[in-house]
């Protein structure tokens, strides 16, 4: 083998504390090294030209560059050696800047260490083998899981970019939490007025296929070629026939069904369309409450339906689709405040969640926008808002901040004062988190213009009390600024419940082979530099499923994820990284241990004609972690470019170097 070594000065960055000429001179003595030099800037144009020229002139088979971190310039140099006709994996880098020159001023030791690292790189290179990536076709379609504002935005952007989109939503309509909101901070514009048109677009765009009442059942395959099984839950209504006229809903005799869309503060019918702006605007039967489905009688809806869409025999359906990329946008659910005894554990009807309150405020809500106490329908005159319910609370294992509650609480307090001008609004808070454009000003307006009273402190206890106009709730807490106990007699208490990962998020993450944190929020690939990617190539994140987020941030991330998908699927073919595991079939004994530990399901057991088994790596699925290599007792499965022999070469090189230095 003929190896060339270049030791980079990096201007003075390395040369100041490492004797680069001495390192190059030492390298000349290493086995197979036919050429070693030092250079002012290896990565510069002349530096790269020198590398290329030397490869051609001296017919080198491999190159070592000792310079900065491979995380910095490995690709630069790989491309350079490739231009000169070498395989890009016949290149090794010794990190003598970040790991040597910059951490010590001891020139003698630095020089020795740099020499050792070059020797290590040379020894590794001597056992490196050329590797070639394989290319494969991609499906120009994207699956989006979750049809909240993030999912909708991502779907529209992807469709705009020319991709076919499958939007899978668990509920009957897309829209997510935002479709339930009345107004949004900090502009107090109507939520459905901004979201509605987007929902309609998503419903009408010929590139977007909506699958509502649906969930992802199974995901297999790999970037460019995922295969997804989608379970379409039965609605008992044939949606190809249903026109959304709502006649069934009027006739349905089962009228005591808690209305989930209205956060169960009102009732609806067993067959219903969740809300007037629903997309798709189709009826579904709630099987648990349908008299026909539970008792066998009735059938009123089937009789009235003008298109004959009702089908009581309808079954779940599972469809299989192929997509090239996946965006998870499953959003959040809300903390269950009934876990907290101090707020009445759900016993007091006049203690409501913030989202239920949004429904009360909404003109299209059950009270047509009039705020009424659930207990007696009276208009409340004193409303107390309690923030951080199930946020920043270690005792319920929710130490994180949900981010948007401070803001929507301010919004709801403003709206309360708007709706009932002679009302009083109190907010119990811990800190006010208002770090967004116009947010701090918004909270100030609540305090100054709308005279909302902010009390800094935690509420210890809520208990019923007989007020002048009947049942009131006494809210007792500490005002930590005044250092005193306060008590407020409230007509209505609104709990700013925190965000939790959406129900079933961990299960979905496992199907997708992506990671999730302790709370079930999906993990991004890098918190700063790869915020919308996951560690599984081809799967991206949008919206609050990655962590609590308000609408602007959710939408921004959705567009970012769509941009990533469009960039990825703009190519007709993708290349697979050749640094993946490979099984030496003659050594594999088919014990299947590797298969069990591979986190990506990249290993399959193949049966030979004699009935024995061998492991086999699905090249496009393997991510190159090397967990399998260590699991295999015979080490028959080896991660290319990081094989046992290659890493041992490095270990041996270091140990040998030391032996020589000790002896001399």
């Amino acid at each position: 083998m003929r190896i060339g070594v270049m030791v980079c000065h990096c201007g003075n960055n390395i040369a100041a504390t490492v004797d680069c000429e001495a390192v190059a001179a030492a390298a000349r003595e290493f086995p197979d090294v036919v050429y070693a030099t030092d250079h002012m800037y290896a990565c510069s144009d002349p530096g790269q030209k020198t590398i290329e020229q030397t490869i051609r002139d001296l017919k080198l088979d491999g190159v070592v560059v000792a310079s900065c971190s491979p995380r910095m310039h490995e690709m630069t140099f790989r491309r350079a050696v490739e231009r000169a006709g070498l395989n890009r994996y016949m290149f090794e880098m010794a990190n003598i800047r970040e790991h040597v020159a910059w951490i010590s001023l001891d020139r003698k030791r630095n020089t020795q260490k740099a020499t050792d690292l070059v020797r290590m790189a040379v020894e590794k290179l001597r056992v490196d083998r050329p590797l070639t990536p394989k290319s494969f076709d991609v499906q120009k379609r994207v699956l989006i899981v979750g049809g909240g504002v993030a999912g909708i935005q991502a779907a529209l952007d992807c469709a705009d970019g020319g991709l076919d989109v499958l939007l899978v939503e668990r509920k009957a309509s897309i829209g997510g939490i935002m479709s339930k909101l009345d107004k949004t901070f900090p502009t107090i514009d109507c939520s459905v007025c901004v979201l509605g048109p987007k929902m309609v677009d998503a419903g009408q765009n010929p590139r977007i296929t909506l699958h509502t009442c649906s969930e992802v059942e199974e995901v297999s395959g790999y970037v460019g070629n995922f295969e997804v099984k989608i379970r379409k839950r039965t609605t008992y209504v044939d949606w190809t026939k249903c026109t959304g006229c709502g006649a069934c809903q009027e006739k349905c005799p089962s009228r005591k069904v808690p209305d989930a869309f209205n956060e169960n503060i009102s009732l609806t019918t067993a067959i219903n369309i969740p809300f007037p702006q629903a997309i798709p605007k189709r009826a579904t039967i709630n099987a648990a409450h349908c008299i026909r489905l539970t008792k066998g009688k009735c059938g009123a809806c089937a009789k009235i339906c003008p298109t004959g869409a009702i089908d009581y025999e309808m079954q779940d359906e599972i469809i299989t689709e192929k997509v090239g990329a996946i965006i998870a946008a499953t959003g959040i659910t809300l903390f269950d405040h009934t876990r907290l005894g101090e707020y009445g554990a759900g016993r007091y009807p006049d203690v409501v969640t913030s989202l239920a309150y949004e429904r009360m405020l909404s003109a299209s809500g059950p009270t047509a926008g009039h705020i009424k106490r659930p207990s007696d329908g009276r208009e409340p005159k004193t409303v107390v808002f309690i923030s951080c319910v199930g946020s920043r609370d270690r005792s319920v294992d929710r130490p994180y901040c949900s981010g948007f509650c401070c803001m929507y609480t301010a919004k709801q307090a403003i709206l309360t004062r708007d709706h009932i001008p002679d009302s009083k609004a109190f907010v119990f808070y811990m800190d006010i988190r208002a770090n967004g454009k116009g947010y701090e000003e918004f909270v100030r307006r609540a305090q100054e213009e709308y005279a909302v009273e902010y009390v800094r402190g935690r509420v210890a206890h809520i208990y019923p009390t007989a007020g002048p106009d009947g049942g009131q709730l006494m809210v007792r807490g500490a005002d930590t600024l005044l250092g005193a106990q306060v008590e407020v007699a409230a007509d209505l208490v609104v709990l700013a419940v925190g965000a939790e990962s959406s129900t079933g998020a961990p299960e979905l993450a496992e199907k997708l082979h992506i990671s999730y944190d302790h709370y079930g929020f999906f993990m991004e690939s890098h918190p700063k530099l790869r915020p919308v990617e996951t560690n599984t190539v081809g799967i991206f994140l949008a919206g609050a499923c990655q962590g609590p987020k308000d609408i602007p941030a959710s939408v921004a991330q959705a567009s970012a994820a769509a941009g990533k998908v469009l960039a990825l699927l703009s190519k007709d073919k993708l290349e697979s990284d050749p640094q993946i595991a490979l099984v030496q079939a003659i050594r594999c004994i088919g014990c299947g241990k590797c298969e069990r530990t591979c986190p990506f399901g990249a290993i399959r057991m193949r049966e030979l004609r004699d009935g024995s088994k061998r492991a086999e790596v699905v090249e496009t699925v393997c991510q190159g972690c090397g967990i399998c290599s260590v699991t295999c007792p015979v080490r028959a499965i080896q991660l290319q470019h990081f094989t046992d022999s290659q890493l041992l070469a490095e270990v041996n090189a270091l140990c040998r170097t030391w032996d020589e230095t000790t002896e001399s």
């Binding site: 004994i589 014990c591 069990r596 024995s612 015979v634 080490r635 080896q638 094989t643 046992d644």
Partner: protein
């Protein structure tokens, strides 16, 4: 003598069971009398005539499950002691053998002899006869009998045996026994670990330098199912060179212990087979002790158990977050 009668009855029962199964198996692996009174020898039984040679007593030290993996595809009958059955369980757990291909003759066992222990007490080449009773081992030597307390010459594993009755079997031969050993106290390890690191290092240096790299230890191990492609012999990956240096020999023992982590049932075959008398079981016992402590795991007792190194917990209860400790 009563003990003798019981032994004979058990042997007869074994022979009868084996004969009854002969039509269903390719052959049965069992023990027969060996070349001297202290040795039994493994035999393959294919006929009633062979079956008449079957014995079972304190000389039946070998673990007949070694090599079972290589017989995959055949239907095998197998005579196992309690400890050997753990190897079977482990092989089953790793799906290396098929339960349906095995017919197991389980022998409750009250201990086998450790020849190494007899050897240091007498010249075993001179033994002309041997008789094992409940309390003693009576050796017939040219200059008269020599009586050794039985506990002194039983294999170590038998002294701490908690599974005298086979965990899996199709035919249980004779009476089940009550386990005599309590929880393993690892007193030997404790004793060894009282030495300073330097002394331990020197101990192994001495021991390992005697290793002749015969790999008898590996070849005897029932769980080294990959011996035909063993990492120790491989050129790529190239872990061990052919040089007989101390390092290579030592590293092999580390390799064996690591490959057996969570799998070794402490059958002791490796150490028993070592012609150089190197106490390599100690390494595996160390591994097992730590596994027990960390993961409350013991190999070869539950065919459905998940091997602790092939799984993890997001929050490990016994592993402290390292970097915080210093």
């Amino acid at each position: 003598m009563a003990a003798d009668q019981a032994k004979d009855a058990r042997q007869a029962e074994l022979r009868a069971s084996v004969i009854s199964e002969l039509p269903n198996v390719d052959f049965v692996l069992g023990y027969a009398k060996g070349f001297d009174p202290l040795h039994a020898t493994p035999i393959t039984v294919r006929s009633e005539k062979d079956a008449a040679r079957l014995i079972f007593d304190a000389t039946c030290v070998q673990n007949l499950t070694t090599g079972l993996y290589g017989l995959k595809g055949k239907r095998i009958g197998l005579v196992v002691k309690g400890c050997d059955s753990r190897s079977v369980v482990q092989l089953l757990q790793e799906k290396l053998v098929e339960r349906s291909e095995l017919v197991i003759f389980g022998m409750p066992c009250d201990g086998v002899l450790d020849l190494a222990k007899i050897r240091v007490r007498t010249d075993i080449t001179q033994v002309r006869g041997a008789e094992v009773t409940g309390e003693e081992v009576r050796l017939l030597l040219p200059d008269g009998p020599k009586v050794l307390p039985r506990r002194d010459v039983l294999a170590d594993k038998c002294l701490r045996c908690r599974y005298p009755n086979p965990i899996v079997s199709d035919h249980l031969i004779g009476q089940e026994l009550t386990p005599q050993g309590a929880e393993d106290t690892y007193a030997d390890l404790d004793g060894f670990e009282k030495l300073s690191p330097q002394e331990r290092f020197d101990f192994w240096k001495r021991q390992m330098s005697r290793c002749i790299r015969c790999y008898a230890c590996r070849n005897a191990c029932p769980l080294c199912v990959c011996k035909h492609v063993c990492l120790a012999d491989s050129r790529d990956p190239h872990w061990l060179s052919a040089e007989a240096t101390l390092q290579e020999k030592w590293l092999f023992q580390v390799m064996h212990a690591l490959h057996l982590a969570g799998r070794c049932t402490e059958c002791g075959e490796c150490q028993r087979s070592c012609p150089m008398g190197i106490p390599i079981l100690l390494l595996k016992r160390k591994m097992n002790r730590e596994l027990k402590e960390l993961f409350n795991y013991e190999a070869g007792v539950d065919p459905e158990a998940v091997p602790p190194l092939h799984t993890f917990l997001m929050e490990e209860d016994k592993i402290k977050d390292r970097g915080q400790l210093w």
